[in-house]
């Protein structure tokens, strides 16, 4: 039965649409052109919890964090003009990382469109390349159908951000509201069904392979295929590596989990990508940070590509077999066709390569006994203190790579990071959204001193909501990743990467957030425990080695097998 309410304003209609879609939380910032909506929101405070961020970019990233931690659609709201343009970075991030968002922006009244009115900007034009879909509503009557379509498109298939721009007159005008969820858009196939031939062909290659390797991405997480994926890995005994967005789809301590691929990934899976005879890509898109030089990427191997998005097939890497469909449904259909197998000798190659990385790199950075603190040892101590169960939200840079490399994860959806876009400033607001989206979980925001300062105004949101985010700043007083490249590829010319930082503890104090700065190894463990034991938010600054590099590393444009250990 369609919900029916007569003679309500467009603004109130938007609220009913949100409620019908099961939304109970949204992130936003008011302003002129969205005021009618906020006025209605005032009357629905019990049903809809609005989180006032301190910047619209914060609202977009918070909505992303919320969506990534629980798989629901994140909703953010902004006014026209600068409010809308401030969302754009978050929208672009959500687009490239396939995060379901519905972004609602106010717009000048219909009669003023195109007249360069106050706070008018063509946000539909601006957001077109970075949205899955967008639309400008200029009449109240359009609201129910368009909002239903927005949610359907954002969450179905390969998820993504949808922006709905609503003129002020459409928010004021009254009409008879009725709502029906969208079930189909005739020009859109969100979930192709894998063909029998493709599944048979994939099974044949897998069953015949001697040295197969899996690389899994966020597709496994999005389709909630974790269990069936694990069954596939265990039945076939195929070593499985992950992209940074695929992390936490398979426990990091699973014996067949061989670690992370890509520029700062693990030695074994990168090197052996160029030795396997079959590469099975599941819900990943062969990003250049994963593949390095495409001309020398897995050329010796047959490739099977499981993806829901047809445009990803053969985009970067040619697939001998493409299985077009939802990861969960495809793997469920494939599983009975797979033979049980044992790849012990091949797995031992991974183990021997891992031992090299362990002794040359990992042991030195996770448990050093002298010298300044390292990023990796902080992560290692957090692993122990949280029983590997925390949601780790990161920003972008060295600390991100260190967290992805060293944080153990044994729970689903526990790695939230800006992958494709590499958005500095993502971490703090995303962690707010993540914590609000999963209050029962421990959410730890790992940031560098650079990224923290890109959106530190969101401490104000933490102050107001009292959301219990644990903030860890790994302070190396540099823009570390850029500095690392300057050291390695620009003859140590540290152009604009040295940071003179303010006192972060004092800043936290101003926002009434308990905080501490740690410099000594002897204090690290107890400080992490103190942070975790504190109810509500906490900010822990850790002074770490100033000029540490993340290794292994595949230099930009090189082959995955050119991975460097130092």
């Amino acid at each position: 039965m369609a919900k029916q309410i007569n003679n309500i304003s467009g603004a109130e209609a938007i609220i009913h649409c949100l409620l019908e879609e099961g939304v109970d939380m949204l992130f936003g910032y008011p302003g002129g052109a969205i005021m009618p909506f906020y006025d209605e929101l005032y009357k629905f405070q019990k049903e809809l919890h609005h989180v006032l961020t301190r910047h619209e970019q914060g609202a977009a990233h918070a909505a992303q964090g919320y969506a990534r931690v629980n798989g629901r659609v994140g909703v953010c709201v902004a006014t026209s003009g600068p409010g809308a343009t401030n969302l754009v970075t978050g929208i672009a991030d959500a687009q490239i990382d396939s995060t379901p968002l519905v972004c609602i922006t106010g717009q000048v009244t219909r009669e003023l469109l195109g007249s360069d009115a106050f706070q008018e900007t063509d946000i539909v034009g601006i957001s077109t390349p970075v949205t899955k879909w967008n639309y400008q509503i200029t009449r109240a009557e359009e609201i129910p159908e368009i909002m239903a379509k927005a949610f359907y498109i954002a969450r179905s298939g390969r998820p993504g951000p949808v922006l709905i721009d609503i003129t002020k007159n459409a928010q004021f005008d009254k009409f008879d509201f009725s709502y029906e969820p969208c079930k189909v858009v005739r020009s859109y196939t969100p979930k192709p069904v894998a063909s029998e031939e493709s599944l048979q062909a994939a099974a044949k290659l897998i069953n015949e392979s001697k040295k197969p390797m899996i690389v899994f991405g966020q597709g496994v997480v999005i389709s909630e295929a974790e269990e069936v994926f694990q069954q596939m890995v265990e039945k076939t005994n195929i070593p499985a590596a992950w992209t940074i967005l695929g992390k936490s789809a398979l426990h990091t301590n699973h014996p067949l989990n061989v670690g992370m691929v890509g520029m700062h990934g693990n030695y074994a899976p990168n090197l052996l990508t160029n030795e396997c005879d079959l590469l099975i890509a599941v819900g990943m898109r062969f990003d250049d940070r994963v593949t390095g030089d495409l001309k020398t990427y897995a050329k010796q191997a047959k490739v099977i590509h499981f993806d829901i998005d047809k445009a990803e097939i053969n985009k970067n890497v040619y697939a001998d077999v493409a299985v077009l469909g939802d990861a969960k449904e495809s793997i469920e259909a494939l599983l009975p066709l797979l033979n049980e197998a044992n790849h012990e000798d091949w797995m031992n190659v991974f183990k021997s390569k891992k031992a090299i990385e362990q002794s040359q790199i990992i042991d030195h950075v996770i448990q050093p006994t002298e010298g300044p603190l390292t990023m990796a040892e902080v992560i290692h101590k957090i692993n122990i203190a949280t029983n590997n169960e925390a949601v780790m939200v990161t920003d972008v840079g060295q600390h991100q790579m260190m967290t992805c490399r060293y944080a153990e994860s044994t729970t689903k959806r526990s790695n939230i990071t800006s992958g494709g876009l590499g958005t500095m400033g993502f971490g703090l607001p995303a962690s707010i959204g993540a914590k609000l989206g999963a209050e029962e979980r421990e959410v730890i925001s790992i940031m560098g001193d650079g990224g923290f300062q890109m959106n530190l105004q969101e401490l104000g949101t933490i102050f107001q909501t009292k959301v219990g985010v644990k903030i860890v700043i790994l302070n190396n007083e540099h823009l570390g990743m850029v500095r690392q490249w300057q050291e390695l590829f620009f003859d140590r010319r540290y152009a604009s990467t040295v940071m003179d930082n303010p006192d972060f503890v004092k800043i936290a104090h101003g926002f009434d957030i308990p905080s501490k700065c740690v410099k000594e190894r002897s204090e690290l463990e107890s400080s992490i425990q103190e942070m975790l034991d504190t109810k509500g938010p906490y900010l822990l600054e850790v002074k770490v080695t100033k000029e540490e590099n993340v290794f292994p590393m595949i230099p930009s444009g090189c082959s995955v097998s050119d991975i460097r250990l130092s």
């Binding site: 077109t128 858009v185 005739r186 020009s187 047809k310 445009a311 985009k315």
Partner: protein
């Protein structure tokens, strides 16, 4: 990889903003759109874009994938020139006195299978439909006498093979 002419046919909903979305895909890859035509298709309420590009097979396949991914696109196809029947139209505006002063112009018009669409005291207008090289040939023949204005339309094309859009739309209707 060898570059070729490709004609991309896109069946889509008739929605504002879709042209922007589609052209953005070419922009990102620095592919120049050689010609673009948007019109009604054989199906009521469904629009058809006809886009001509000069690029490699791999890129055209990637582009078609990315076009098809747009929510309001029903289906996109790429064809080489030998897989389609195509035409372009051109208009030539020429000074009227040339019809009398330069008698061979009448022969040029006759032999080129073009039409005179209007004649006035000052100028007349020739319309020529055909393949690109045919329009080029007429242009080259008329140029020495002076062309006041010249304009060429985007390519329009139909494929030799079926583009089964109606069946596709029927499937969606059955879903609903």
């Amino acid at each position: 990889m060898e570059k070729k002419w490709y004609t991309i046919s896109v069946y889509s909903e008739n929605h504002v903003g879709l042209l922007n979305r589609i052209s953005g895909i070419f922009l990102k890859r620095h592919i120049n759109i050689e010609s673009l035509n948007v019109s009604a298709s054989e199906i009521p309420s469904v629009s058809k874009f006809t886009i001509v590009v000069f690029t490699t097979q791999k890129w055209v396949e990637n582009i078609v994938g990315q076009i098809e991914k747009q929510i309001e696109v029903i289906k996109a196809f790429a064809h080489t020139d030998d897989e389609i029947i195509y035409q372009e139209t051109a208009l030539f505006k020429v000074a009227s006195h040339l019809l009398f002063d330069e008698r061979q112009i009448q022969n040029i018009i006759k032999e080129s299978n073009s039409q005179i669409v209007t004649v006035s005291r000052d100028y007349f207008v020739i319309a020529k439909a055909g393949r690109r090289h045919e329009v080029d040939e007429l242009h080259d023949l008329l140029a020495p006498f002076g062309i006041l204005q010249f304009v060429r339309s985007g390519r329009i094309a139909v494929s030799k093979e079926a583009m089964p859009i109606t069946e596709l739309l029927k499937k969606y209707e059955d879903l609903n």
